[in-house]
Amino acid sequence: MWGRVVEIMTAVWLAASPFVFSSQSDPAILWGDLLIALLICILSGLSYWPPTRHAHLLILLVAIGLIAWGRFAVLPPPPEHQNHIVVGLFLLMIALIPNHASQPPRVWQTTAN
């Protein structure tokens, strides 16, 4: 589940980033980052529960949204929005990683058919 752990760590960075970039006075940035971080944590967390184990794939949509927000909200993108582009691109890779990535997929784990 290291992919999910990295996603949650990235969400923590995203939640802290308005304060890192001193943009906490802008409510859109502050609440946007906090809510997106929460959404990422929820989707990662749901991936631990077998019935919703594919929830992490929805983070791909969140990542695309983050990239679009960062790239087009303000031109040229200021630091806090460049952070959104970088975090979005990073999540795009991490969210693809299967849950138990080092093991064969579940269907291949049994010898009997």
Binding site: G70, Q82, F90, M93, P98, P104, W108, T111
Partner: protein, 210 residues
């Protein structure tokens, strides 16, 4: 042949034409480590482009690195991407490491989508970035030592990653040749399981080692 003849724990078999398993940890970990080194070097270049450090380290070409990294070409890339090209490089190398690390020692068969995505990140993107670095020298007229180092690492990664991508593509090709079924190819690509895919993999595994 039944599935039971291919035990799930027997996932580290050599894959012809190689006498090794290209998806083995021993094959993939060095790729991940080298990609991390390249990501760290790119981070240094990105820090300079963002203005966090005064100079990019360059023991060979001196100030030429700084001129390349702040050149008009680099700045026009910055305007297009919204972030500096070195930062994009960090993400691309991290992607090599992440996609190289994910998967079991039999991912060439169980997760071809992952191997092919890894291959796309390493091979075409790696070659394009090397061409861009070399072109930059002619367009900008200066050389950047660490850019050349990362370009060299990209080429090593291409060389190291190729065997696994080749094996995965060969497996998909065997599936296609045996069935001529798009549905079967789709299942093989996404790592779904059925008897025929086991037989296709066994055909590849029983080929002669060159």
């Amino acid at each position: 042949m039944s599935i039971a003849s291919i035990p799930a724990q027997d996932i580290d078999r050599p894959v012809p034409p190689y006498s090794h398993n290209p998806s083995a940890w021993s094959q993939r970990i060095p790729i991940c480590l080298l990609a991390f080194v390249a990501a760290a070097i790119s981070s240094h270049l990105a820090l300079y482009q963002w203005g966090f450090i005064e100079n990019a380290w360059d023991p060979v070409f001196g100030g030429a690195s700084n001129r390349v990294l702040k050149s008009d070409t680099a700045m026009s890339m910055y305007r297009i991407l919204g972030i500096h090209d070195a930062a994009l490089g960090v993400l691309a190398y991290l992607g090599d490491a992440i996609l190289g690390f994910a998967g079991s020692p039999r991912r060439w068969q169980y997760r071809p989508w992952l191997v092919i995505l890894f291959g796309i990140d390493v091979i075409p993107l790696g070659i394009v970035s090397v061409v861009l670095v070399v072109l930059q020298a002619f367009v900008v007229g200066d050389w950047c030592f660490l850019c050349l180092v990362t370009a060299g690492i990209s080429l090593i990664l291409v060389y190291w990653a190729w065997d696994e991508v080749r094996v995965s593509l060969t497996y998909l090709w065997i599936v296609w040749k045996r069935n001529h079924s798009k549905r079967m190819l789709w299942d093989a690509f996404w790592g779904n399981r059925n008897d025929e895919l086991d037989r296709s993999a066994e055909e590849l595994l029983s080929r002669e080692v060159s």
